[in-house]
């Protein structure tokens, strides 16, 4: 598969995973809230495609695409939604609140914007350890109004941290339109307050996203400090699946549905002769297989045992490896394994195969 077809596949997989999650929710099989990101796939997949091994993402709730690009396992994602005992959070948390530092994924929390100071700490470590790796963080338009957003970006700028921030401006923070959130036109203008570059790009154009994020990533990698890329997209569904989003003008939604990033990229690939009908069918088949496998795996997985509820509040004693340094995955380190279960972290596809315990 060429890189372009990989990108197309990952965009399709992201959409299909969320479509299936929504179905599971409507069937009453997801116990908690469901947050999806139809329309964000060009931004999330495109941005993460610009990274290398050793880089780290600090994603948010509409970034399933980033997770999948970086190797988060569809099985793990479905186990999270279905609150399974073998989910990466062992059923203690839901949604895509998952990660594995050894594979460069910082698990998010629900307080949006709070991951950005954490991203600074990851990037600070990369800088202190004189690495050429970088941190790619994301947030929505809503989170740009929080204190932690400003504290983090300012600190990153002062310290010239290897950080690229993607702002996914999807028009609404829950029901609140951007006009009630901030008085600037483009969120990339926020960069000026920190003395760093900022640009705005069509977030539904995967190639444009890759180009712009690529510039920010290269700048971070070269030691020139952080940048902001605003990807302008639209949240064509509700904040959560419980939200009908009837506050969004119908014509506005329809306008953006016409700009759906997946058909758009598909048309581009087809026109360039990079995606044949046969290849498209093969990709659809693969997407279906992966999603079906993830759902059936999750459904066959056990629920957590209520007797474990008070376990794992504190991490055990022992040496902790500096992530990314030689030997850091040696099991003698407390952070090399998921010490709660005495097994490798299972949020990544490859780790899950390596575990082979399911």
């Amino acid at each position: 598969m060429t890189d372009y077809l990989k990108i197309y596949y990952l965009m399709r997989l992201t959409r299909a995973m969320e479509d299936r999650t929504r179905t599971l929710f409507l069937q009453g099989r997801v116990v908690g809230g469901v947050y999806t990101a139809q329309g964000h796939e060009a931004t999330t997949v495109g941005a993460a495609m610009m990274l290398r091994d050793g880089d780290c993402i600090v994603p948010q709730h509409r970034d399933l695409g980033m997770h999948l690009v970086r190797g988060i396992s569809p099985r793990a994602v479905m186990c999270q939604w279905l609150a399974r005992g073998n989910a990466p959070t062992l059923g203690r948390d839901g949604q895509i609140h998952i990660g594995d530092m050894h594979h460069g994924v910082v698990p998010m929390i629900s307080m949006l914007g709070e991951s950005l100071p954490v991203a600074c700490g990851v990037a600070l470590t990369m800088k202190m350890r004189h690495r050429s790796t970088i941190t790619l963080a994301s947030c929505g338009d809503g989170a740009t109004n929080t204190g932690p957003f400003h504290e983090a970006m300012n600190f990153a700028a002062v310290q010239r941290l290897p950080l690229a921030l993607v702002i996914e401006n999807n028009g609404y923070a829950y029901s609140t339109p951007t006009v009630k959130q901030f008085a600037i036109e483009h969120l990339s203008e926020r960069a000026r307050a920190f003395g760093i570059p900022g640009e705005s790009v069509d977030g539904n154009d995967v190639l444009a996203v890759m180009e712009a994020v690529g510039r920010a990533v290269e700048r971070a990698r070269a030691g020139e400090g952080p940048s902001i890329v605003e990807c302008r997209t639209f949240r064509v569904r509700g904040h959560s699946e419980a939200d009908k989003a009837d506050y969004v003008p119908q014509e506005l939604r329809e306008e953006w549905l016409k700009k759906d990033p997946i058909p758009r990229f598909e048309a581009y690939l087809t026109e360039k002769g990079m995606l044949t009908a046969k290849e498209k069918a093969e990709i659809e088949e693969k997407v279906r297989t992966v999603v079906d496998d993830a759902v059936s795996f999750a459904e066959q997985s056990p629920e957590p045992d209520g007797a474990t509820v008070a376990d794992y509040v504190f991490a055990p004693e022992g040496p902790v490896a500096i992530v990314g340094e030689p030997g850091a995955s040696d099991p003698r380190y407390v952070n090399a394994l998921d010490t709660r279960i005495g097994q490798p972290f299972n949020s990544m596809s490859e780790a899950e195969e390596a575990v082979g315990r399911r």
């Binding site: 307080m111 932690p148 983090a152 055990p316 709660r340």
Partner: protein, 329 residues
């Protein structure tokens, strides 16, 4: 002539310096910790020894300071985040409560970090420079809370906190920083004091006082008077670590003395004393010969003017009054 006996503040400083020398993963970040050496000079000379990459002067931004510490800790570093005054920890609250403290439980990744800073009153600091914030964090699963009262413990417990694989809130009492009476000779060799272990500061059979931080000294003073004037032998237990609590030490002592007085500088309602009272009521109901009694600050914000501060803070006199009432049972 240089004084070989170190202050509580010098003990803290030594702990950080020695840990930074021992382990390159340890670093310090906070407001004015570098060039200025910290508002109380805990890190004086650190910038010169360790350089600006490991002694980081930050903007005035507690969420960025604590959040960066969380990120670095996830990477396997052992950051020490300084709050210039512990009162300002509220500005970084979410990073502690929702980010750091839930991380291992939620995703299995340890967060080995220390948040430390000057707490407590008695210095005319007023409502924003006198806080005893321990109860908020005592109530939060996933973070340890440490409250040393001597130079020896300050050093040994800070080393343990830095080496711990969890978020640790290390509360320094600023009134003790340079108190001459607290100077002591510390071991030349590396030593630690384990977290989660209380210590008996004075033995006695007639009553147990449970306390921590600067109040240890007020309690010892009261205990001395009770011995001299009332012929009472009062046991004073310095809890040292609030979370995890040394339940065994508490229960062992109260089983022997059958009377317990709890003293803390923080406000009364929902404070550490409330939980201690509940534990004692649940575990030792049949052993108690008098009501579990608390001496704490009243449920008001910390005041500024000297007469108000004096009225607010518990002291030996207030402890004596409460202890005598309890002893009469």
């Amino acid at each position: 002539m240089s004084e070989s006996r170190v202050t509580y503040l010098e003990a803290i400083s030594q702990a950080i310096r020695e840990e930074m020398r021992r382990d390159e993963a340890v670093f310090l970040l906070g407001e004015d910790v570098g060039t200025y050496g910290g508002a109380f000079k805990v890190s004086a000379g650190f910038l010169e020894e360790f350089g600006p990459e490991r002694v980081i002067d930050t903007p005035m931004a507690e969420a960025a300071i604590i959040g960066s510490a969380v990120g670095a800790a996830l990477m396997g570093m052992r950051p020490i985040a300084e709050m210039q005054f512990i009162d300002f920890i509220t500005c970084g609250f979410d990073q502690i409560i929702n980010m750091a403290s839930k991380m291992y439980w939620r995703v299995g990744m340890p967060v080995p970090m220390v948040i430390r800073g000057p707490s407590g009153g008695g210095t005319k600091g007023g409502p924003f420079h006198s806080a005893s914030p321990e109860a908020w964090f005592f109530h939060t699963p996933g973070i340890k809370v440490v409250v040393p009262s001597t130079a020896y413990d300050a050093k040994g417990m800070l080393k343990s906190a830095i080496r711990d694989n969890n978020p640790v809130l290390y509360l320094e009492h600023k009134l003790l920083y340079r108190m001459p009476e607290l100077r002591e000779e510390l071991p030349m060799e590396d030593y630690t004091v384990p977290l989660g272990k209380a210590i008996v500061r004075r033995e006695g059979e007639d009553m147990t006082i449970l306390t921590y931080g600067a109040m240890v000294y007020q309690c010892l003073k009261a205990a001395q008077t009770l011995e001299e004037d009332d012929d009472l032998e009062v046991e004073v237990i310095d809890l040292r670590t609030l979370s995890p609590l040394d339940r065994e030490a508490i229960l062992d002592s109260v089983k022997r003395t059958n009377k317990v007085l709890i003293v803390h500088e923080d406000t009364l309602t929902g404070g550490i004393g409330a939980e201690l009272s509940a534990i004692l009521a649940e575990e030792l109901f049949e052993y108690l010969d008098g009501p579990v009694t608390r001496v704490a600050a009243p449920d008001v914000p910390f005041p500024y003017a000297p007469p108000l501060e004096a009225a607010y803070l518990p002291n030996a006199e207030k402890i004596l009054t409460a202890a005598r009432k309890l002893a009469a049972y």
